[in-house]
């Protein structure tokens, strides 16, 4: 087992932890953190793939690295968006989870 394999297993572990957190934690904020852990695991996997593709005098394959950089920025934008929604939800309704509301009475809305 090489060092890269160990880090690969760490990536899988991060994915599992992230998935668990997303499913099993109630607060939105914790879900968002778990999503970021999951994302970190995925990016780490790209890193492992890049490392395995080292060659031509490069320490790692640059293509997956470029993808990770792109992915990190997108993930940050998604996190920011989710957090703003969380904050707005909290400001308006005081809710900190996305549990389903009890079925609303059929009030007119327009």
């Amino acid at each position: 087992m090489t060092g890269t394999d160990i880090l690969a297993l760490a990536a899988c572990g991060l994915v599992a932890i992230g998935l668990y957190g997303l499913v099993a934690q109630a607060e939105v904020l914790r879900k968002i953190i778990a999503f970021n852990l999951l994302g970190a695991g995925v990016f780490l996997l790209f890193g492992v793939v890049a490392r395995r593709g080292a060659g031509a005098g490069l320490a790692a394959d640059p293509v997956p690295q470029a993808m990770v950089i792109t992915g990190l920025v997108v993930a940050f934008a998604a996190t920011a968006l989710a957090l703003v929604l969380t904050l707005r939800l909290y400001q308006i309704t005081g809710a900190a989870t996305v549990a389903e509301d009890p079925p609303e009475p059929t009030a007119p809305d327009s």
Partner: protein, 492 residues
């Protein structure tokens, strides 16, 4: 080897025009944003039409190598029949919805810019750019970025009203969609590790049914169907689509979910090896069948019009999955039929559902509520809307002549031909249930108004947008099969 085809520049234009328009609208704001968006969307329709024409006439996909770099290092945009058909559908629906939105999202001369109008006119071209990226992308990672573009756009459009109740359902949508994207990305990473490329055309020749490919396929598929709200992963769709303003719901239900669908087709019929498709397709179709039956029954029992239409989307998305085992199991002739049937379903549902959501929005705006039981009098105030809604419903039911009929007929025939007749029972009972919920609404709308019911008249221009979309979904059924051969160009 991909090479840039002579008309490949059209693909670049299809992507950059709406993207550029969005950026300009973003900077300019106010009244300019609306003008830029409308102009860009009209032009976009022309481009989409030109692409479809080129693909149809040439009988071969268009391709463009970005920067002249050959995959695997570089990346390509490709337009086969599927891309062209979906692009054209997207352009038609977007333009109709844009025209529909001119009244509610207007910025009068001299008035200050408002939040909703600004966001609306920026996100329409944004959606166009996202769809172009999703339909034309030839690289799995690039498609990931396109998926995220779609997610952000969908989210912002759904929150357009700023209704407090919407934030929770949108947060659920965002979180679920993000898990979907990440699972997709995870699979893409594995595929790159196994094959050293994410170019779809190159992967097509390289994949085998080995462990990395299988795991990647399962993860990416699960991620994509979470974004398509296939049963049992549909929790987010009904509240998100029902709570959004009418114009946004039409785009979400009609177009956004189709982006993930195109990706799923690319994954299953280009990237994954045949035996995997054969084995896994049945599971997808089984989930699709459950979506059709359960979604339709639940729709039948909804008390709110928009929720009913949203559940109808859950059911109609199920039909898209029936093509998977049919395509894998049949001979070339049958497979081609199943392919055409599936894509036609996506297109006709986009048109019909957009019309129905816009219609539902008009009805709700006019009556001040959208309780199905109290729709009486709607047909007197807005006959055109109710007729358009019913026409969309006919197409969903699969009655001739309509695009929905063509789609369901082709799927039906393919299911009989492959000996998998049980899917035809699903298709037919789904049609009956669909008829049930469409009848419920139309009959309620035809009923005399309840005493004390005050319905406001709705703008004729908006009604005509709805009618145009519904007519398009009907007229699709009158297009001769030969002209639908477009969809077969470059099919798997």
């Amino acid at each position: 080897m991909t090479a840039t085809t002579p008309e490949g520049w059209l693909l670049v234009l299809a992507l950059t025009l709406p993207a550029g328009a969005m950026l300009l609208a973003f900077v300019a704001g106010g009244r300019h944003a609306q003008r830029i968006a409308l102009g860009a969307l009209a032009l976009w329709l022309v481009i989409a039409f030109a692409i479809a024409l080129q693909v149809q006439r040439g009988g071969a996909p268009l391709a463009y190598l970005i920067g002249g770099w050959q995959p695997p290092l570089g990346m390509a945009l490709r337009a086969d029949g599927l891309s062209a058909a979906m692009l054209l559908t997207g352009a038609v629906v977007l333009l109709a919805v844009a025209l529909f939105g001119r009244a509610p999202y207007a910025t009068p001369r001299g008035a200050q810019e408002t939040r909703a109008a600004y966001a609306y006119w920026c996100f329409l071209p944004a959606l166009a750019a996202s769809l172009a990226a999703a339909f034309l992308g030839g690289d799995l990672f690039n498609l990931f970025v396109a998926l995220e573009m779609l997610t952000f756009t969908a989210l912002a459009l759904a929150c357009l009203d700023g209704k407090p109740s919407q934030f929770k359902s949108e947060l659920r949508y965002l979180l679920f969609a993000l898990i979907g994207s990440v699972l997709y990305l995870l699979g893409a990473g594995l595929l790159y590790g196994a094959h050293g490329t994410l170019d779809i055309a190159l992967l097509a020749g390289r994949t085998r049914a080995d462990a990395p490919t299988l795991v990647a396929g399962a993860l990416m598929t699960a991620g994509l169907i979470a974004k398509m709200a296939l049963f049992p992963l549909h929790l987010w769709l009904p509240p998100a689509h029902a709570g959004a303003p009418a114009a946004a719901s039409a785009l979400l239900s009609g177009l956004v979910v189709k982006g993930a669908f195109v990706l799923l087709l690319r994954l299953w019929f280009w990237v994954l090896p045949a035996p995997v498709v054969l084995n896994g397709g049945t599971l997808l179709a089984a989930l699709g069948a459950a979506a059709i039956l359960i979604g339709s029954v639940v729709a039948l029992r909804q008390e709110r019009l928009k929720l009913l239409v949203a559940y109808s989307t859950v059911a109609q998305m199920g039909y898209l999955f029936l093509m998977f085992p049919l395509l894998a199991a049949g001979d070339a002739e049958t497979a081609s039929r199943a392919w055409l049937g599936g894509v036609l379903q996506a297109v006709s549902h986009a048109l019909a559902k957009a019309a129905m959501f816009l219609g539902a929005g008009l009805i709700a705006a006019s009556l001040g509520h959208d309780r199905v039981a109290a729709l009486g009098g709607a047909a007197r105030v807005m006959p055109i809307t109710v007729i358009a809604f019913a026409m969309g419903g006919l197409s969903l039911m699969g009655l001739p002549p309509s695009g929905g009929f063509g789609a369901k007929w082709l799927l039906l025939r393919a299911s009989v031909e492959t000996g998998q007749w049980w899917w035809s029972l699903v298709i037919l009972s789904g049609g009956l249930l669909t008829g049930g919920y469409v009848y419920r609404i139309v009959a309620a709308a035809l009923a005399p108004p309840a005493p004390g019911c005050e319905a406001r008249p709705v703008p004729r221009a908006q009604e005509l947008c709805v009618l145009a979309l519904a007519l398009a979904s009907i007229l699709l059924g009158l297009v001769p099969l030969k002209d639908l051969g477009l969809v077969r160009v470059g099919a798997p």
